[in-house]
């Protein structure tokens, strides 16, 4: 039991080190990419990947390799130093901070959503069952919820938009549902790391542009969405959407940039194509390779853990 607790402590210390290392690496790669892209938009999935990869990699290595290798190969003694304690404590603090951030933000958002849903009525014009007109919506048009996503439209927004513009705006929010952007916001909130705010903001901007691109399939629809953005940003000054929700006219992305892109819309010009499917065979091959050489990998991992967390 004590040995397992020691294993958990060493694994947490190892996690703290690898997570910091991969995060710094991701930040450096990100800054490099921004420098060389010279202002060109960065693909939305790449932004998100850069942000979550450090956590995913370090958690996977710790859980699948570092902890088992410790249990299998470490001698049954108690000789950890203060540094290991401090590192594991920092890992616990970091995980607790993520958990606290998510729970408090979720509670705040639940309150706002509950208020916004009071007296909400289904919107038939949008031809989607998940769109509601709400007399108390905090934003003119917003997407709330993760398991059962709903598009909330304020009465004022419904009155100001034409049928085509309203449909384009709802389609934009449904694109966020398709790409699970609210869930991604929760994930980002779970894994805080200093210096990542810029990367998160860029991801949010890219997510808005991607949703614009996915929501329109003709010039007419692009113009409808552009008109909706202009009308709503004039009537309702852009403000930050509550945590884990998405607003059509929210702060991270400039309305003018989005309208300019929509005005320049051509078939296939904005649509983003996911390349994640190419990564799956690679990941599968890596897992098979690791499994085939599990013994040597465990020994290597254990010696690495010994070096990093003596």
């Amino acid at each position: 039991m004590i040995f397992a607790a020691r294993g958990i402590m060493v694994s947490l210390a190892f996690f703290a080190l690898t997570y910091s290392f991969f995060s710094l690496l991701a930040l450096l790669a990100w800054w490099g990419m921004q420098f060389f892209s010279r202002g060109r938009p960065v693909p939305v999935n790449l932004c998100f990947g850069f942000r979550v990869m450090p956590f995913a990699l370090s958690a996977a290595i710790t859980l699948l390799l570092a902890f088992p290798s410790f249990l299998l190969l470490e001698g049954r003694s108690m000789d950890e130093d203060v540094g290991t304690f401090a590192l594991s404590a920092s890992a616990v603090l970091f995980l607790a901070a993520g958990l606290y951030q998510v729970t408090t933000a979720a509670a705040r958002t639940r309150r706002v959503v509950a208020e916004s849903l009071e007296g909400a009525m289904g919107l038939t014009a949008a031809e989607v069952s998940s769109a509601f007109v709400s007399p108390r919506s905090v934003l003119p048009l917003m997407l709330v919820g993760i398991r059962t996503p709903r598009v909330l439209i304020s009465e004022a927004a419904r009155d100001v938009l034409s049928a085509g513009e309203l449909q384009a705006a709802v389609r934009h929010e449904l694109e966020h549902v398709r790409s699970r952007d609210n869930l991604k916001k929760v994930i980002l909130s779970c894994i805080p790391f200093p210096g990542m705010a810029g990367l998160e903001r860029t991801w949010q901007e890219a997510a808005e542009l991607a949703a614009d691109g996915g929501a329109v399939s003709s010039r007419e629809e692009a113009l409808d969405l552009a008109a909706a953005l202009i009308k709503l940003s004039r009537r309702f000054p852009p403000q930050a959407a509550p945590a884990f929700t998405t607003g059509l006219v929210s702060v991270p992305c400039s309305v003018a940039t989005r309208v300019e892109r929509l005005l320049a819309w051509e078939e296939h010009s904005i649509a983003s194509h996911s390349r994640w499917r190419y990564a799956l065979p690679l990941a599968f091959a890596a897992i098979v390779g690791l499994a085939a050489k599990l013994g040597p990998v465990m020994i290597l991992m254990h010696s690495l853990t010994e070096r990093l967390v003596p």
Binding site: R38, R219, L223, I230, A256, V259, L263
Partner: protein
């Protein structure tokens, strides 16, 4: 481009003289350039040595990267016009907000930004309406 340079002037590290602006403009247009290529481009009448000194100064100011090429250097702009404008704007705003009357300046800034935004939205709205009209005309 003048707009870029006027905002750049407020930046202490990239305060540019008229010739520096012209050289930067030429190198932006060429992508990368040696001194000889800038002279050969023909947009500037200054001598080889003057342009070499200017490009060296821009390198010292951190606006150019350079790599040796034969006995000379090939210069490459470190920032594009948009990036440079952004840096200059950020620096100006930082200076503005670190002054004694920061809150007053901020209120002016917000007011000016609001007016500017409104104007930009007007222009974009007109463009949307024009494109819609063209689309309707095309459908008829």
């Amino acid at each position: 481009m003048d707009k870029v340079f006027s905002s750049v002037e407020a930046h202490p590290r990239i305060n540019l003289g008229p010739l520096e602006r012209q050289v930067l403009d030429v190198v932006w247009a060429l992508g990368t350039a040696t001194v000889r290529e800038v002279v050969r481009d023909g947009k500037l009448w200054q001598t080889y040595t003057t342009i070499m000194t200017t490009m060296h100064r821009l390198f010292k100011k951190g606006l150019f990267d350079r790599v040796p090429e034969g006995r000379a250097f090939r210069y490459c702009p470190r920032y594009g016009p948009a990036q440079l404008e952004r840096i200059a704007a950020e620096e100006s705003i930082r200076q503005l907000l670190s002054s004694q009357n920061a809150s007053l300046h901020l209120s002016y800034l917000v007011e000016a930004a609001g007016t500017q935004d409104e104007r930009l939205l007007d222009e974009l709205e007109a463009l949307v309406e024009r494109q819609r009209a063209e689309l309707r005309k095309g459908l008829k």
